[in-house]
């Protein structure tokens, strides 16, 4: 008996050695599983041996490899965790040894007469990290000799299961690391910066898509070529010495230069950052080169410069226009107030035309100046204690005559009493004046215009409503933009150059308020100004 045992032991040891050798050989999982079941089948003299692995998609144990089970049957075998012997082994993570048919029938709830199994071992595969269900089981059934399985057989199979568990764990970790590696590679590939790794001989070992296109090449072609072969000699010398310095001093090196690549023909402004890669101690030390395309940044800088030029030009123009307007305004005033001669009605009319248009020109120049200030962020308001209702009443007053003439019903309503507020009364008054000016122009005869003030939740709301032609939804946002005109035919009314509402918005925003066109207002237009109540 002991001799047989000893021979069995040596056979078992051989089996274990065989399997562990397979595992370390780097063969794929399927091959190892398949060879393992066959080895077990022949060395343990069993009819059937199978490895079942949990299928994460279906939640069933499915046959991964089997000996003594016809392949056509494999897909039909599906075991739920907790059901059947293997299913229970899976859930409880404990092996089961069935010595005979009686034991088997005791264990299975629905014994089948067609059971051909008399002796059976099922062992869970338990990777170290495992929690919950085991990821798989290994089953053997029926010794050819019809002898029962022994605890010794169980020990051996447990040892094998341990090896296979290790293999599963390794495979899992390998897949994880592959995933991580792939993710990192994908990230590097998708970077907008060019990434190149370069070895100690200044030869490219890897480069991402962006770097390749900056070099005018493909990633595959760039590999194993000296960096210097892509650029002019001078740049290459500079970069090579920076790489050496980076390795020597273990520090980042950075330079901005115009990179003229051989294939591109034109130069690209670029920032090159060189980083020593310390993670490869055995190989010649590598450096990583990060190429950042600065073209866009340069373009932006240029555009900013042009914008500044434009602003100072606008500022200069408005200044230059204001200077001649001063004597014109003064001289007109003198002509009107101190007539040196008695003017004929026609002459007087001409004088009025000159004066009206001088005023228009002045307003236009002032708008231009405001826009310059808004853009330069030097636009300022001067807050003074203001009775808003009184201010609105006096803003409405000049429109009464023209409203009467056009038979427009013009009404002002103050819902609540508004306490004095710190506002730039001239600026806000101008905004209300502009809104009313437009309302009167856009409202046909027999229409109505309503100005209303009210207080809600620490906010003052001013509404200017008219029953005019209204503003199409598509313009409602854009109408507050600079130089925006609804269409040419009515642009003249909207403050000429499309600046009126742009300035109005800036004025209201400077007061921490908002101005908008109310969507829900159907017939006509409603402008709503919201101002926070101030002390």
């Amino acid at each position: 008996m002991s001799g047989r045992r000893a021979s069995a032991d040596s056979q078992y040891l051989g089996l274990l050695a065989c399997i562990s050798e397979m595992i370390s050989s780097g063969k794929d999982l399927d091959t190892i599983f398949s060879q393992t079941v066959h080895l077990i089948q022949s060395l343990l003299h069993v009819k059937r041996c199978s490895i079942l692995i949990m299928d994460s998609k279906t939640g069933y144990l499915k046959v991964k490899a089997a000996a003594g089970v016809p392949r056509r049957l494999w897909p039909k075998i599906k075991i739920r965790p907790g059901h059947g012997i293997a299913g229970r082994v899976l859930s409880r993570r404990k092996p089961v040894l069935v010595k005979n048919r009686r034991e088997l029938l005791e264990m299975t709830e629905q014994p089948s007469r067609r059971y051909t199994t008399h002796s059976f071992i099922s062992i869970p595969l338990l990777p170290l990290h495992g929690k919950g269900h085991a990821p798989g089981v290994i089953n053997v059934a029926n010794k050819v000799t019809r002898e029962a399985f022994t605890p010794h057989d169980l020990d051996l199979l447990q040892a094998i299961a341990g090896l296979l568990s290790l293999l599963l764990e390794n495979t899992r970790l390998f897949a994880l690391s592959q995933n991580a590696k792939k993710r990192l590679a994908d990230m590097i590939e998708s970077l907008d910066a060019g990434i190149i790794t370069i070895n100690g001989d200044h030869v490219i070992t890897h480069c991402n898509q962006r770097a390749a296109s900056l070099l005018g090449c493909t990633p595959v072609r760039a590999k194993q070529r000296p960096l210097a072969s892509f650029m002019d000699k001078k740049t290459a010398t500079v970069l090579n010495s920076m790489m050496s310095k980076s390795l020597r001093t273990k520090s980042h090196q950075e330079i901005e230069l115009d990179l003229l690549t051989r294939s591109a023909g034109s130069s690209t402004p670029m920032r090159v950052t060189i980083v020593p890669l310390a993670s490869a101690p055995l190989k010649p030390r590598e450096t990583m080169m990060i190429l950042t395309d600065l073209s866009l940044r340069r373009e932006i800088a240029e555009l900013k410069h042009i914008d500044q030029l434009k602003s100072s030009f606008m500022s200069m123009v408005s200044h230059e226009l204001r200077t001649p307007l001063t004597p014109i305004t003064g001289a007109l005033h003198l002509l009107k107030e101190n007539p040196p001669l008695h003017l004929s009605p026609t002459q007087n009319q001409m004088l009025n035309i000159i004066r009206n248009n001088t005023n228009r020109l002045t307003a236009l120049v002032n708008n231009l100046l405001d826009v310059t200030h808004i853009e330069n962020q030097t636009f300022a308001i001067q807050r003074v204690p203001t009775d808003l209702q009184e201010m609105i009443d006096s803003a409405v007053e000049p429109f009464r005559a023209i409203a009467r003439k056009k038979k427009i019903h013009l009404a002002v309503r103050h819902v609540n009493c508004i306490p004095p507020m710190a506002l730039d009364d001239k600026r806000i008054g101008q905004v209300i004046h502009n809104l009313l000016d437009n309302a009167v122009k856009f409202t046909p005869s027999k229409g109505r215009i309503r100005v209303e003030t009210s207080i809600t939740e620490n906010k003052v709301i001013i509404r200017v409503q008219d029953s005019g032609i209204g503003i199409d939804k598509s313009h409602k946002e854009k109408i507050f933009k600079k130089f925006y005109q609804v269409d040419n035919s009515i642009s003249r009314q909207w403050g000429g150059a499309g600046l009126g509402l742009y300035i109005a918005k800036a004025v209201i925003n400077m007061h921490n308020g908002d101005i908008e066109i109310v969507d829900s207002f159907k017939k006509g237009t409603e402008f709503r100004i919201t101002l926070p109540l101030t002390d």
Binding site: S315, R322, T323, G330, H333, L334, L369, H373
Partner: protein, 122 residues
């Protein structure tokens, strides 16, 4: 009580002609200067009751003229009102800092000047 004497300092001849005419019609005595240096000379020679001082003037600009007049104890009492078409937001601040009492933005309707003069000179 004699007429108040205003010194109008501006390099723009047309502006000076119009303002001078207007202020004279309102009963003021108006003398003019054409640049910063000339202004400093005229202040000493004419001893005006008030100075209307343009900012953008040749040789010495209005801010500088204002500072020098305020630093001189013989002239520091003379009220100064700045005139300018300057579009810089800090112009008003700079004018007040230099010692000006008020600031008029060009272009303006002449009555604005008279209103300010009345407020300062009574």
């Amino acid at each position: 009580m004699g007429k108040k004497k205003i010194l109008l300092a501006d390099d723009e001849e047309d502006i000076k002609t119009v303002i001078k005419l207007y202020l004279e019609s309102k009963g003021y005595d108006v003398v003019t200067s054409y640049d910063g240096l000339d202004t400093l000379d005229k202040v000493k020679a004419e001893k005006p009751d008030l100075i209307l001082l343009d900012i953008m003037m040749p040789v010495i600009n209005g801010f500088e003229v204002c500072k020098q007049l305020k630093a001189d104890e013989n002239t520091s009492h003379i009220p100064i009102v700045m005139l300018s078409a300057a579009s810089h937001a800090d112009s008003v601040e700079r004018a007040i800092e230099a010692g000006a009492l008020d600031y008029i933005m060009k272009p303006f309707e002449p009555p604005r000047i008279e209103a300010i003069l009345k407020k300062i000179l009574g």
